[in-house]
């Protein structure tokens, strides 16, 4: 691994890719800050409905006490949004890390070993991949709720399974390509064991695609989490603040003309998903040589040397 080179590639990128990355990182950073410092940023707890024994008003308009108003469950919308960031980050981080570990290892072994193991795994993963991810998430979360309840871990686990195939596919394909690469042949030629080849020659070169898939999957996972919440299959309302759940509660309010309860959690989802997608696309464009464009700068030819060499004809 060559961290400094990796970083310098990103740093030296010019043009749109750099802007995309920058904006994406900024947005994501804001939400990470929300997630980390929720207790200090949010004025109230995520399930707080009264302060000093006085109940919050229902569906209140924005005010000094409630910057974005309250929703139909007497919650303070601003606090819900901030706490929701913590839930989202936790769930997504957990699920992405888990699926990356499983997917990368499986893809590496499957791609390098080949043969029947590879074919069967590939077939299974393709089947899993072709299945609607939301449907899978619904089924998993449904099963997990029966067993371990509707908490953050259950939500994360039900998302994990649907993203494994994505890492698997990319890592397997790059491994299959890299397996044919001359430097892997060269490693065999010096007498390296398969385990050594996978560890020293393949892993470092294959794993480079993981940050890109990781961030793009994180964006997607966030959407799926919100959808689960919307269908009432996400995180139980008493466990943590869930943007999707808040949106499902706001259905009727919007029809009645009150946008606030739906607007803010929705915007939060859009912003964070957009931020993560931008990071992913930015990384993709900086790290993927196929998409990177060597930017030629406009050149103006200087006037010729007045001391032209003599021409003898």
């Amino acid at each position: 691994m060559r961290a400094p080179r990796f970083v310098s590639t990103i740093w030296n990128t010019k043009g749109m890719a750099r802007w995309i990355l920058l904006v994406g990182v900024l947005i994501t950073a804001v939400f990470l800050l929300f997630a980390l410092c929720a207790p200090w940023i949010a004025p109230y707890d995520f399930n707080q409905t009264k302060v000093d024994g006085v109940k919050f008003p229902k569906l209140a308009s924005p005010s000094g006490d409630h910057w974005l108003g309250t929703n139909d469950q007497f919650y303070d919308i601003y606090s819900r949004v901030v706490w929701g960031a913590r839930t989202a980050v936790l769930v997504v981080l957990l699920s992405i890390v888990l699926s990356a570990i499983v997917g990368v290892l499986l893809g590496l072994v499957s791609g390098y070993v080949g043969g029947w193991f590879d074919r069967i795994t590939l077939f299974l993963m393709d089947a899993l991949y072709s299945f609607p991810s939301l449907l899978l998430a619904i089924v998993f979360s449904f099963m997990l709720r029966e067993r371990i309840g509707g908490g953050i871990v259950a939500a994360a686990l039900s998302l994990t399974a649907i993203y494994i195939p994505q890492y698997y596919r990319v890592v397997r394909n790059t491994t299959v390509a890299a397996r044919e690469a001359t430097y892997v042949e060269a490693a065999k030629a010096i007498g390296a064991k398969p385990a050594t080849i996978m560890r020293k020659y393949l892993f470092g070169n294959v794993v480079q695609s993981v940050p890109v898939i990781g961030t793009l999957n994180a964006a997607d996972a966030l959407g799926t989490l919100a959808a689960l919440g919307f269908l009432g299959l996400g995180i139980a309302p008493n466990e943590a603040s869930d943007w999707g759940y808040d949106l499902s509660r706001a259905l009727d309010d919007v029809s009645a003309g009150n946008f606030a309860p739906a607007l803010w959690p929705g915007l939060a989802i859009i912003l964070l998903v957009t931020g993560l997608t931008l990071v992913g696309e930015g990384l993709n464009e900086t790290l993927n040589p196929a998409l990177r464009r060597r930017r030629l700068q406009k050149v103006t030819l200087p006037p010729r040397d007045t001391t032209d060499p003599e021409v003898v004809r």
Binding site: R119, E185, A186, I190
Partner: protein
């Protein structure tokens, strides 16, 4: 599985300089075959449909004598790279044997597996064609060159460092400090190839298989890398298998040369003899065709036509016969050759393609190799006349040597071809050649190969 012969009963004449080295060629292959199963697309792969076999090597018998450079020359698809990989056990052989006679006695490479095969790599090493691809982009030069020692647990720490530096100096990557911590992408092509060579010699091997080591390099460094390899051979007592498509460098570099075509050796012998007196028509064609910066040379007029055929369905008889300007009746003529000749006829100016094509009908069925071809959709007499016309147009076309009969059976024109032979390597003069023009005993004698 054959067991390892106890005492090799071989001629003693090329016993190497070392006292612990067994006599005989350092590497020898006998009837080596490497067949690959070609598979269709992803779908067919899953269903296991239509697997074709490519004979990358089809009965190759060569010897590498101690201290010599054996050139393996051929175009793409000739199997030369597969031969090199097979010598290291990187391409598993499906038939035949590879024998290695090194410091540890005689071993059968073709039957080695796993750890045993990995141990062989301390004795037989490889230099690759593309130095940029042969180095792991995420390893420094020092790590890459030293990795063989780590893998075989030969050296570590300061000792490892010392040996890496020694190897780098040996290949001219000096001052070592300037290169050791660099990544491959920081080096030029020539420098990378030096690093690859350093990695290959660090285990102190006896044999180096060099697969087109200079073809991807810039013109100005080719000679330098070749010189480096010559120096290393002298200093380290190496034997080389030099795989190349470039006859000019082979002529300068090699002691003996094997010319390969479609998985077989068609001619093998001492370099001077091959260049002074090429026998196989393919060798002759290669020699005539290489562009040489000698302004006195002429472009040859009788270049072989066409290109290297599909290795999954090689021509019947001698693989080279469809392109051979000297082909005779026994070369293995078949239906596909007829199609080539018809296509060639229609390519001539003046041929009335549309009418004639209608007369002859669809030709796709000729693509299945057969000793008997049927032609014609229209009146068989007209088809026959057309075919006779084609023959008259170019009576010197070698194909007509192989046509036994061409007549109408009432509805179609039937073309029957002569029986062909598949020539084996035979002694002819100072070389061995696989061509029907050199039948057994045509040369001086058929004594055992040198």
């Amino acid at each position: 599985m054959p067991t390892k012969p106890e005492s090799p009963d071989l001629s003693q004449e090329d016993a190497g300089p070392g006292d612990d080295v067994p006599p005989g060629p350092v590497i020898e292959t006998d009837g080596l075959e490497v067949h690959y199963r070609l598979q269709g697309g992803a779908l067919a792969r899953v269903l296991g449909l239509r697997t074709r076999t490519v004979k990358a090597l089809d009965g190759v018998t060569v010897q590498l004598h101690r201290g010599e450079v054996l050139g393996v020359v051929g175009e793409s698809g000739s199997g030369k790279t597969t031969l090199g990989r097979a010598l290291l056990g990187l391409a598993p052989s499906t038939q035949g044997s590879i024998t290695y006679r090194g410091r540890d006695g005689e071993r059968l490479v073709s039957h080695m597996k796993g750890a045993e095969l990995r141990r062989l790599r301390t004795d037989v090493q490889m230099v690759f064609q593309d130095p940029s691809a042969a180095l792991n982009p995420s390893m420094t030069i020092e790590q890459a060159v030293g990795h063989p020692l780590v893998v075989h647990k030969i050296a570590r720490g300061a000792e490892l460092r010392r040996r890496v530096h020694e190897a780098l100096e040996r290949v001219g990557l000096a001052p070592v400090e300037r290169f050791a911590s660099k990544y491959p992408s920081d080096l030029s092509g020539g420098q990378k190839q030096r690093a690859v060579i350093a990695r290959a010699i660090i285990l102190d091997p006896e044999v180096l298989v060099a697969d087109e080591p200079i073809s991807m390099l810039d013109m100005s460094v080719r000679a330098k890398i070749l010189q480096l390899m010559l120096d290393l051979k002298r200093d380290l007592g190496l034997s080389y298998v030099y795989i190349t498509h470039d006859l000019a460098s082979a002529k300068y570099f090699c002691d003996r040369i094997a010319i390969m075509y479609l998985g077989r050796v068609v001619e093998i012998g001492p370099t001077e003899e091959i260049f002074a007196n090429p026998r196989h028509p393919y060798t002759k064609a290669l020699l005539k065709a290489i562009p040489d910066p000698d302004p006195e040379r002429m472009l040859p007029r009788d270049l072989p036509r066409g290109e290297i055929p599909d290795a999954a369905e090689p021509p019947l008889g001698c693989s080279f016969h469809p392109r051979c300007p000297e082909a005779v009746a026994a070369c293995g003529w078949e239906s596909r050759d007829l199609r080539v000749v018809l296509d060639q006829h229609w390519t001539e100016r003046g041929a009335d393609f549309d009418t004639e094509r209608r007369l002859v009908g669809d030709l796709d069925h000729l693509d299945a190799p057969s000793k008997r071809a049927t032609l014609g959709k229209g009146d068989p007499a007209a088809v026959l006349a057309l075919m006779e016309g084609v023959r008259a147009e170019n009576p010197d076309e070698p194909l007509w040597n192989g046509v036994r009969s061409m007549e109408s059976d009432g509805s179609k024109v039937v073309v029957e071809f002569e029986e062909g032979v598949d020539p084996a390597l035979r002694r002819a003069g100072g070389v061995d050649v696989a061509c029907v023009l050199y039948p057994d005993g045509a040369g001086s004698d058929t004594a055992a190969s040198d």
